[in-house]
Each structure stands twice: as C-alpha cells, then as structure tokens.
C-alpha cells in the first residue's frame, strides 16, 4: 500500500491542539491500531505539541503531517512562531520517559524556522 498523507495546521493554542489529537486517533484507526495503541499515540501527540509550544503562550501555528503506511503511522510536527521567543523544543526528563514508553521512534529538533518533531508508531502484530 502506498503512503497516504493527512495534513493539519492549527493555531498554537491548547484548545486547537485537541484537534490534532482527535485527528491522530482518526488516522490511527484507519491504520487499524488497537485502542491501546491509539491511546499511546494520543499521549505522544499531547506531549510533543506541548514541547513545541512550551509552557508559555505563543503566537503562531503548529503544522502536523500524518503519514499513513500499512502497519505504521508517522507524525511530523513543526511550530512556526512570530513572537521571537526562540525555536528550541522544550522537553522534560519525564516527557522523554513518557515518549519512550508510548512510541517506537521520536526525535525532537530545532529546525531552521522553528521547533520540530517526528514520531513513528508501529502496529503490533496480533
């Protein structure tokens, strides 16, 4: 099966980040993930979006690309901010621990135009 992509751009505010979570659950069910896996993905998206925006209110947008494959889902996120508060993702030791437990791969980085992440969640063979 060829890779399919769903793209979402939302304002960088908590009430809109919820939409990115719902979208993640929606595409995950297309891939045939179990409820446990969908829940993990949801937690990962929450943590990662939070790490893009950080603890302060920011002005800008979050773009998410959901890449659906046969047995896995990759999500790429990037923040673009106009407030000049910096481009580094914020991640705590606890967040790292949480992410390691819920996704197969996860990278956070400082992109040229803003903080970025990429995660991969694979379907467990049943």
């Amino acid at each position: 099966m060829s890779q399919r992509e769903v793209r979402l751009e939302v304002p960088a505010a908590p009430e809109f980040l919820r939409i990115s979570r719902i979208m993640a659950a929606g595409v995950a069910s297309r891939v045939g993930f179990t409820l446990d896996e969908v829940e993990d993905l949801r937690i990962a998206i929450d943590e990662l979006c939070f790490s893009l925006v950080g603890p302060r209110r920011r002005t800008g947008t979050i773009t998410l690309r959901y890449l659906l494959d046969t047995d896995e889902l990759a999500v790429e996120g990037s923040g673009r901010f106009t407030d000049g508060l910096g481009n580094d993702p914020v991640v705590s030791a606890l967040s790292e621990q949480i992410l390691a437990a819920v996704v197969d791969e996860c990278v956070l980085s400082t992109g040229e135009d803003g903080p970025e992440f990429r995660l991969v969640k694979r379907r467990r063979p049943s």
């Binding site: 659950a25 030791a93 606890l94 621990q97 949480i98």
Partner: protein, 250 residues
Amino acid sequence: MAFDGKERDELRRKFLDYAETRDRALRDELITAHMGLAEYLARRFTNRGEPLDDLVQVAALGLLKAVDRFDPERGLEFSTYATPTIVGELKRHFRDKGWAVRVPRRVQELHLRLAGVVGQLSQELGRSPTIGEIAQAAAVSEEEVLEAIEAGHAYRFTSLDAPSGNDEELSLSAELGAEDQGLIDSEHRVTLSPLIAQFPPRERMILHLRFFEGMTQSEIAARLGISQMHVSRLLARALAQLRSQAEDDG
C-alpha cells in the same frame, strides 16, 4: 424533606444518643431516615451522564459522613448541615470522573457504554480491540467511538484537577501490595519524585506501570481491576495536570 415536630424531636434524640454511643444500629436508622435527602440531591445531578443508582450511592456516602460528623448540640438542623456535605461528595465524584462540562450527554453515555464493550472485547480477543472492532460491537460508527473516547480526555489545561481526597488514598493503599508501593517510591525518589509523588497512590501506580514498566493500558486495567477507559481517563488527567504545572512554572 419535611418531618413533623414529633419526628424531628425523635431524630434529635437519636442524634444525641448516637453522638454519645456511636451505636451502629442507631447510625443505620439515622441514615435510613434521611435517605430521601440523599436521593433528592442525587437526582439533581442526573443530567450529567451518570446512572441515578450510582449517584444515590455516592450521595449516601456523603450522608454517612454527615451523620458521623454532625454535632446536634450546636442547634443546626441536620438537613442544613448535611446538604453541603452530600453535594460536595457528588461534585467530587464528577471531578474524579473527570468530565469536562461541555461533553454532550449522548457522548458521555456512549463513553460509559464503551467501557463495558471494550472490557468484553478485550477478554474475547485476548488483546486490545481496534477502533473498528469496538464500533462494530457497539453498533455505532468509528467516528462516534473516537468522539466518545476523546470525551475521556476532555480536561481543561488548568490546575483545577487536584489529586483526589483521602478516602481513595486509604482504600487504595490497602489494595496495593506493600512491595509495589516500596518499589515505586524508591525508584521515583531517585529520578522524578516530586512530580510523581504528588499523585494519589492509584495514579502513581498507573503512571509507573505505563511509563516505567511499559505495561499497556489494558494490562494495567486488568491488574488494577478497573476498565481500560478508566485507566485512560486517569492517565490523561495526570498528564494534563503535569503540563499545567509546567505552565505555571514556565
């Protein structure tokens, strides 16, 4: 809740007796006499997606606390004293359940129904069911399932969700083996203690099992004897709380 003068005198005498003797039969009588008040108050919370029977039980617990704490010498009517205690218990129940205010009733009801469906499917399949399987078993669309699951995560990003009170703390300490407790405490003391330690034992246990032991939500649900959906809600709430603290600090 109206008692005539004679009944009121008799109840007052019973309260005075109970304050002195702490006699259980007397306590039961007092609770029975005021169950109407508990039911009345429980009924006022029925439009929020919880079955009335459950609410009456919660209200009865509040009533019991009120009977135990009521001091008849102070001249206050019992119903005046008990109402805030019972309402407090009901509110705490909803807060622990974690419903955000704006989740429509239809979605809440499906959420509650799915908890059972997921449990049953997990048993039959021997694994966590897919969204498609849940939708089919519940005879609703996948979108409705997703919406209902999301309802369990509908926490606001505020510090309102304080860890729940002491009663749960007590009953759960009894449930968890001393060994589990010791293990969790020693591990987190080294690494993330202040963050994890603020949660009541059950949340601490769930955070530990999911993120440090790598157990799935279904496995945790089976281990703790609660539904997967409940594990999911408790986790979501704990994580939302951690983030809101990061915001407060940031």
